[in-house]
Amino acid sequence: MTSAPAPQPAPATVRPSGRAVVGPATEPVPSGATWRVKLRRDRSLLLMVAPAILLVIAFNYLPMFGTVTAFQYYDFIAGFLASPWAGLDNFRALFADPNFWQAFENTLVLSMVQILLYFPVPIALALMLNSVLSSTVRGTIQAITYLPHFFSWVIVVSLFQEMLGGAGLLNHALRLHGWAAWDVMSNPDTFKYLVTAQAVWKEAGWGIIVFLAAIAAIDPSLYESAAVDGANRWRRMWHITLPGMRGVIVLLLVLRLGNALSIGFEQFLIQRYAVGTQAAEVLDTYAYWNGIVANNYGLGAAAGLFKGVVSLVLIFSANKLAHLFGEDGLYRGQR
């Protein structure tokens, strides 16, 4: 990191969206200052990020060496050093496996459905919550919608099973009244909507937080002057609130697209048999099942590496897209 060029002086600017973007509050250091000077200047900031960097090194960078197993017939008894090399055999086996492509397709489809149906929900909720004036009511709603975020997927799926499962509350009531049972939990055709519904119930409340923060950052004087100019509630939302949130929305969308292949693991592992693998196998469960459970670590690592490469391409493309929309996205190169 010390090899990065000295930061440009970044004065506080007001972007067209009206959101203030504030540069580093510290004194600009003349370019050419030694890294020692910069270190002294930034030491408290560096200390603050150190734990996060350590975590990333320990859990994200160091494990990358394990990628070598994708090119080995890895044997956990022999270890990395003694396992025989496989060349690209694991990838050949992977690409020849119809189950892998099924998992890939499922992952993409589920991801698209979630972006379409899940992503707008927290935004809409944040907008609605923002229009609630009573802070007690707002706080209560927020607390209730946050709560499911802290439940594990096992609990969430069990709850859905108890409510909507074949022997659950809903179907029991239907049968009692002589109606046919409604197969919600084990229908492979509607599985994508089921998991999206579960995701909305579990995570939408949590997702509100960042949008509410974005709304709070909007200068209230903009609303006041708009109101004076006779803009009604809808116009204010359309012309002030939404544009004010745009940066955050685009940022999160970029992250979401970049993570399109990581749509969860436990949720699908738990419901794998309820609907069958043709609907529920995703890349992560495929790698687990065929790598760890089947004792074919090389193949599992190959699946994971493939996923990583595709994700990298996705995140670059999504970031590019964000730039086209005039937003910063995740990062921007030197201007």
Binding site: Y73, D75, F76, I77, G79, A93, P98, N99, S158, Q161, G165, G166, A167, N171, H172, R175, L176, A181, M185, S186, P188, Q271, R272, Y273, A274, V275, G276, T277, Q278, W289, N290, I292, V293, A294, N295, N296, L299
Partner: protein
């Protein structure tokens, strides 16, 4: 899931015949009865002199209580384990002096149940009696197959490690034995074992299941003469209230008819849970744990047998019949016992370990009328049934290779203590803890105190090594008698499936082919009605081209042609 006496879940039983590495020859029958058991089967061409030479000499103990329900021989050298209806009041000491010499060791075992607090008074009491610091570190049994590779890869193997034999293939235990586990042959083979009388009283089949490459490595737990994968259980109280005789279930059709009669979805009652393991027995499906089986001396794919196809057809039909509980079909196994206890399911499939006193207690808490019964084994078409024997011991523990000779000797002495027979002073301490603290003497035998239930009523030391399996449920003699009667019937129909008690070691390149996870995965989905028989056929064809054919050849040339099938 099956947290009781042997602590296996249903999935485990599915894999219970997966063997591991280190081709050993079998052939010598499990010595069952205390007295001179039949040795007619010995000396067949298929037993290698190598293994026969190293197996320990079986010497039953002269002391200890006599079982009220004696060992009864069945077909194929099988037998019913001894049944005890009363707990002896005079606790015999079988180990004269303190076995340990102050060494300290750590042991990791799987546990399907609540992990007892570390260093609790029960552990302390056992360690004091052992004269050594044997630190038990039970690990969650449900992800134990993922725990062991981590320990191995990180070079963090404990001094004493338990590896359930159904994961022999996944965990490549043959290779582990050769590279990481201590070879106990010099200490235990032949007459050498006589230094450890309690270990010498473990039937030979148990040692055989822990032998790799003609060397002895493993200590067996709960060595049994008649271990079966699954039992078709029924709610005896419900059936008798409806006037249904369980003996009327004698083929596939009568099972389906009963399903129709018992299912009443509107009152939340389904006749069955998922019965796939039972269906395999009904249709005489050869165990698929190794992905291959043997027909007329030829190795074939286990997925190519007409028996499997017929069984899958029936399982699919059953899953789609509407008589199976929807949560079972969603593989919600953790609630399976609750469904059965609550009467939402009337017939279920579970391991033999599920049938014991704590089951009766739990069941009666949910429903005071609860009685677990078992349907006698039957064939799908009403013909004479067959039921495959499991390996003589499902649980096997190993010592770390890094231990010195003196340490290994100390551990053997500790093992001898842990293997003390039913009703002895040592057995009582290990299974019940300290009298007055962990248990009190009731009219029927030891009864756990609250502290005892928390600390001593879990399988910890027992999973390192234990004496021969016994049937006993103090205070619940009806359970013991019913289970004994069911097993006495089943052993009459027992047979040794191919590769029985034979520790086979396919090379590492077959690691995923021999576990055949992808095909077994589809097979399981058929039993839930989510995939069809055609899907299994496609997956099986795929398996063959992905290396299955080579595995079949390998088995033919390296196992069957050399050692035979282990069935003799």
């Amino acid at each position: 899931m099956g947290t009781d006496s042997v602590g296996l879940d249903r999935r485990s039983f599915l894999r219970a015949t997966v063997l591991g590495v280190g081709a050993v020859a079998a052939g010598s029958p499990l010595l069952t009865a205390c007295g001179g058991s039949s040795s007619a089967a010995a000396g067949k061409a298929n037993s290698t002199a190598g293994l026969k030479a190293v197996l320990p000499k079986y010497t039953p103990l002269a002391i200890g209580p006599r079982p009220e329900l004696p060992i009864t021989a069945g077909a194929a050298g099988s037998s019913v384990d001894p049944g005890f209806l009363s707990y002896p009041t005079d606790l015999v000491k079988t180990v004269a002096k303190t076995p340990g010499s102050g060494g300290s060791y750590t042991a990791i075992t799987p546990l399907w149940g609540g992990i007892p607090p570390a260093g609790n008074p029960y552990y302390q009491a056992v360690n004091t009696a052992l004269g050594a610091e044997l630190t038990m570190k039970p690990a969650n049994g449900n992800d134990y197959a993922q725990t062991v590779p981590t320990l191995v890869a990180g070079n963090k193997l404990p001094d004493w490690l338990q590896v359930p034999t159904w994961w022999n293939g996944n965990l490549n235990v043959g290779e582990l034995a050769a590279s990481r586990f201590a070879d106990l042959t010099a200490h235990l083979s032949g007459d050498n074992i006589s230094a450890y009388p309690n270990l010498a009283a473990i039937p030979t089949g148990g040692w055989q299941a822990g032998a790799w490459n003609n060397k002895l490595y493993g200590f067996p737990s709960f060595t049994s003469g008649g271990q079966f994968g699954t039992i078709l259980y029924h709610r005896q109280d419900v059936l008798s209230a409806k006037g249904i005789d369980p003996a009327s279930i004698k083929d596939a059709d009568s099972l389906l008819a009963l399903g129709k009669e018992l299912t009443s979805a509107s009152s939340n009652v389904w006749a069955f849970d998922v019965l796939w393991l039972v269906v395999q027995q009904m249709f005489n499906v050869p165990p698929t744990g190794l992905a291959v089986t043997v027909r007329d001396g030829k190795v074939i794919s286990a997925y190519d047998t007409p028996e499997l196809e017929a069984a899958l057809e029936f399982a699919y039909k059953l899953a789609r019949s509407g008589y199976v509980h929807p949560d079972g079909l969603a593989k919600n196994n953790s609630q399976a016992k609750q469904r059965f206890y609550a009467g939402h399911v009337i017939l279920t499939s579970d391991g033999p370990g599920a049938w014991n006193a704590s089951d009766a207690i739990e069941g009666r808490t949910a429903d005071p009328k609860f009685v677990r019964g078992a349907v006698k084994v039957f064939g799908h078409d009403g013909s004479a049934p067959t039921v495959a024997l499991q390996n003589s011991a499902a649980l096997m523990s190993y010592l770390n290779k890094n231990l010195s000779d003196a340490q290994i000797k100390e551990c053997l002495a500790l093992a001898d203590y842990l293997a003390a027979p039913f009703g002895s002073a040592e057995y009582t301490l290990i299974n019940y803890g300290v009298e007055g603290v962990h248990w009190t003497r009731g009219a029927t035998g030891p009864t756990y105190t609250t502290q005892g239930t928390k600390e001593a009523n879990q399988q910890t030391y027992q999973f390192l090594v234990s004496s021969q399996a016994v049937l006993t449920n103090p205070g619940y003699d009806d359970v013991t008698k019913a289970k004994y009667a069911w097993t006495a019937d089943a052993v009459q129909h027992a047979y040794k499936p191919p590769f029985w008690n034979l520790n086979v070691n396919p090379p590492a390149r077959f690691a995923s082919i021999s576990t055949a996870t992808q095909v077994n995965d589809i097979v399981e989905q058929v039993s839930f009605g989510k995939k069809t028989v055609a899907d299994v056929k496609a997956a099986a064809a795929n398996w063959k081209t992905a290396g299955g054919s080579q595995l079949i050849d390998w088995f033919q040339k390296n196992v069957v042609d050399v050692y035979g099938t282990g069935q003799q």
